[in-house]
């Protein structure tokens, strides 16, 4: 491959791509050029049309209009098979692996029939030495970390010898160290002349890896730029269309009383491949935001349900709310003691998607008697609470009291956080509060959490997003394999230290308190 200049024909060109779903236009005359050997970032907020565009390129969706050119010739990519045959590979955000099969078996599944497992192992070795893609062919998948699983997906993709590799939010499940390893692999691929289309909303990463970026907003291309010549702020402004307000947080290190405390909580997982909680202890004080970092699947969901009471702890004393032992009490009693909870899954857990917003108020508010009269429902009260939240949290929606599923992710999350924050709880526990939420809504939600804590509440944020925790948490701990490390003041820890804890690279027991 020769060094490229502007004007060199693109490897892949998307021309005037239009995709409509009913009356909604997800892609509106999008042009995208990707040259051989370049790392090209596709930027945009949730709902900007990134996923739709990429699905069209990978043959999963048929465009309503426009055309795709490969090396200057118009092609029809009517299925992922056709896209792969044309040299386009994709690594998805959610892995499609069989937990009980080994690495080699999972990779063999995508190869033509008749390939021997031994030869697959040899090919994996080849990839490891060539791209630094560390894989152990005989390990069963369920024992692997997210980073290792992603490497399987990348290996699957590379065995098809693609000219263009699409990666969808690849670092969302990685530790900073794993992300570094991924970037060096990607750089090696680029040097070979392969193109990379990199979808992310982590702007620092994009500036490190990519030399060109296409920014989408509301389905349209709003800018094409070199991200290295832009700042994170200017990139964010292109994505959002306005300037973002910084979250204001004065660090709070005052010693308030512990309002939520966990003492030696151990809980066996109900799920075969789930994570068991092991001897977890920490305390969240009134007035502070406490962050628990960690890679997805390290026990966050289990910890959340033990704190919320959706799963009961083994002993009453395992969880305290304002000094009261609640380990054996259900979620509604914990709510009555003043605690509030926001689970990770917006649709289907924190809300019932087909229910109206006012009905969704009932979900968490019926426990405290605000929306009930005896056994009957006070519809008027529920509606007026919904209305207050919609107004004070600036929730955008169509209609008067629409079904939860019709709201965008950011607006629904604002409503659900609002539902709990407006109760003025003494303890608020959130799991991934801004996951998949647009930047403006995320900033708004973070500000509300800080404000609530400064009024004296204990706020616990479980999050995979390190940037978020460094922005809002006063103290931080890391969850890894069901164990929670000692809490540290956020201003005293570095990303690298947290990254190492996330990868579990501390001597067992050292980071976890075993006070007797």
């Amino acid at each position: 491959m020769t060094a490229q200049k502007d004007g060199k024909p693109a490897l892949v060109s998307m021309r005037g791509i239009v995709k409509r779903f009913g009356t909604f236009t997800a892609n509106d005359h999008v042009d995208l050029d990707i040259r051989a050997g370049e790392a090209h970032a596709l930027l945009g907020e949730n709902g900007a049309g990134k996923s739709t565009l990429v699905k069209i390129l990978y043959g999963l969706l048929e465009p309503t209009g426009g055309r795709i050119e490969l090396n200057g010739a118009t092609v029809s990519l009517e299925s992922p098979e056709a896209a792969r045959a044309a040299g386009i590979g994709m690594v998805f955000q959610h892995f499609s692996l069989f937990e009980n099969l080994t690495v080699a078996e999972n990779i063999a599944l995508v190869l033509p029939a008749g390939e021997k497992i031994e030869s697959v192992a040899a090919r994996i070795e080849g990839l490891t030495s060539r791209y630094g893609l560390k894989l152990e062919p005989d390990r069963p998948v369920w024992t692997l970390s997210a980073g290792e699983r992603q490497r399987i997906e990348i290996a699957r993709c590379l065995l098809q010898n693609p000219k263009l590799i699409i990666l969808d939010e690849p670092t969302s499940v990685l530790t900073p160290q794993e992300a570094d390893a991924l970037f060096s692999t990607l750089n090696l691929l680029r040097v070979e002349g392969r193109a990379i289309l990199y979808i992310s909303h982590k702007l620092e990463e994009v500036r490190r890896l990519c030399e060109r970026a296409t920014v989408l907003r509301a389905g349209k291309v709003v800018a094409t730029c070199n991200p290295r010549e832009e700042s994170v702020r200017s990139l964010a402004a292109m994505m959002v269309g306005t300037h973002l307000v910084d979250v204001r947080a004065k660090p709070n290190e005052a010693e308030g009383p512990a309002r939520l405390s966990v003492d030696g909580l151990s809980l066996k997982s109900e799920d075969l491949h789930g994570v068991s909680l092991k001897d977890i202890s920490f305390a969240v004080r009134g007035g502070e935001v406490f962050g628990i970092a960690g890679i997805a699947g390290n026990g966050q969901d289990e910890l959340f349900s033990a704190l919320s009471g959706e799963r009961l702890a083994r002993r009453a004393g395992d969880v305290h709310i304002d000094g009261i032992s609640v380990g054996r009490e259900g979620i509604n009693l914990r709510r009555q003691y003043g605690a509030a909870f926001v689970p990770e899954e917006r649709n289907g857990h924190a809300s019932a998607p087909d229910f109206s917003l006012s009905e969704n108020i009932l979900l968490s508010r019926h426990a405290t008697g605000e929306v009930t009269r005896g056994l009957s429902i006070d519809v008027t009260a529920a509606k007026s609470i919904a209305r207050q939240i919609i107004d004070s949290f600036d929730v955008r929606m169509s209609g008067d009291d629409p079904a939860a599923r019709t709201l965008s992710g950011g607006n629904l999350q604002k409503f659900l956080v609002g539902r709990e924050v407006s109760r003025k709880p003494c303890v608020l526990v959130l799991n991934q509060p801004t996951w998949g939420v647009d930047a403006a809504a995320a900033a708004d939600i973070r500000q509300r959490l800080i404000d609530l804590s400064r009024q004296g509440a204990a706020v616990l944020v479980i999050s995979q997003d390190l940037d978020e925790l460094f922005e809002i948490a006063d103290r931080m701990a890391v969850i890894h394999q069901g164990e929670v490390s000692d809490a540290r003041l956020t201003r005293e820890v570095t990303r690298e230290e947290i990254g190492l804890l996330m990868a579990g690279e501390t001597a067992r027991g050292e980071g976890v308190s075993h006070a007797h």
Partner: protein, 360 residues
């Protein structure tokens, strides 16, 4: 060519309302085609099925009499189906309710009645409802404790109920002076549901059906329990987040639907039949499943749907007499109706798209 179902962004209330009517229309067309395939005139069948039952007061009352158990059972089943729990065994709960309630009538037959015997009918009704409720607890328990599919267990319990009734009616409950016919003594008047008017067909069973509709409507609309039922069916994880216990709800909805079916069963023997027989139901418990869905699990919809299904039962009997159409034909028609209702449900939620791909 490929067929895709695309989720509609908004469901139009007009379509929601029209869907069951369209389903009935489609079922009538399919039924007509089947009839002409076996050499009967679809036009005549239409008249016999859907017009003649409205022609005189007697058949109009018959319509209400047959609709009552359907509406009562379906109102109970709506609780289960809204919660996504599949009680398919209402037929069995109906039979057990009839058997237990009827047994009281048989045992007290010919006795010197304390308190003038006015306690007998209420005792029968309560015992029938309780028996249906307990019988429905079996699949609920098996599901809760062992994770057994309630669809299979509740269905299989239907056959056990039917055989149990048959056993008792041929055995201990048989009328000793009944010339060995497999049936019980005719119930005394004190053990029978009163007729609403002298010399008419309509008995008090319909009042229970109407009460069930009112009650279900109130519970679904106004109470936390009704909210819980719908929430568990729609988003089980959200129901747990709301602090509702799935186990308790499973037992509650099975108890309600079982009690409704049991009450319908005892009303049938104490109202319509007046004695115990080896078979006391022409499949009410199964037809009620269709009623529940045709009524979109809404109590008032169930009231209308019960009348429609009752029409097909009476029409089926008429067609059997007038046109020598086999009885199975009306069962086939009921099945067709259910399929059409479910298919319409899909189309109200999804848009059908045919995708013609140009070949590469």
């Amino acid at each position: 060519m490929r067929i895709e179902l695309e989720r509609r962004t908004a469901q139009s209330p007009v379509i929601e309302f029209l869907a069951p009517l369209l389903a009935i229309f489609a079922a009538v067309l399919i039924g007509g085609a089947l009839l002409s395939a076996i050499g009967k005139s679809p036009q005549q069948a239409f008249l016999v099925y859907f017009v003649e039952p409205f022609s005189d007061a007697w058949s109009l009352q018959e319509l209400a009499v047959k609709a009552s158990p359907l509406i009562l059972i379906a109102s109970g089943l709506a609780f289960c189906y809204r919660a996504n729990l599949w009680n398919i065994g209402a037929e069995g709960q109906f039979v057990i309710g009839g058997l237990v309630g009827g047994t009281i009538a048989v045992v007290t037959h010919g006795m010197d009645h304390a308190l003038g015997g006015y306690w007998i009918l209420p005792a029968m009704l309560i015992a029938g409802a309780l028996a249906g409720m307990c019988y429905a607890m079996i699949p609920a328990f098996l599901r809760f404790k062992l994770g057994a599919s309630e669809i299979l267990t509740s269905l299989m319990l239907v056959y056990i109920a039917e055989i149990t009734l048959d056993y008792f009616v041929r055995g201990r409950l048989r009328d000793p002076k009944g010339f060995n016919f497999p049936q019980s003594v005719p119930f005394e008047d004190i053990a029978r549901l009163p007729f609403l008017a002298e010399g008419e067909r309509l008995h008090a069973g319909i009042l229970f059906a109407l009460a069930a509709v009112f009650l279900a409507s109130f519970v679904f609309r106004r109470t936390l329990f009704g909210f819980d039922v719908k929430l568990v069916g729609s988003a089980p994880k959200a129901a747990r987040f709301a602090g509702f216990s799935e186990g308790r709800l499973t037992f509650a909805v099975f108890a309600i639907s079982g009690a409704a079916a049991g009450l319908a069963g005892v009303c049938e023997v104490a109202g319509q039949i007046g004695q115990l027989q080896p078979v006391i139901s022409p499949g009410y418990g199964f037809s009620a499943i269709i009623v529940a869905f045709l009524g979109r699990l809404q109590p008032w919809g169930i009231l209308c749907a019960g009348l429609v299904l009752s029409l097909t039962i009476i029409g089926g009997e008429n067609a059997q007499i007038a046109m020598k159409v086999p009885l199975d034909m009306s069962r086939v028609f009921q099945g067709t109706l259910l399929m059409c209702v479910l298919a319409m449900d899909v189309f109200t939620r999804y848009r059908l798209r045919l995708i013609w791909r140009r070949s590469a």
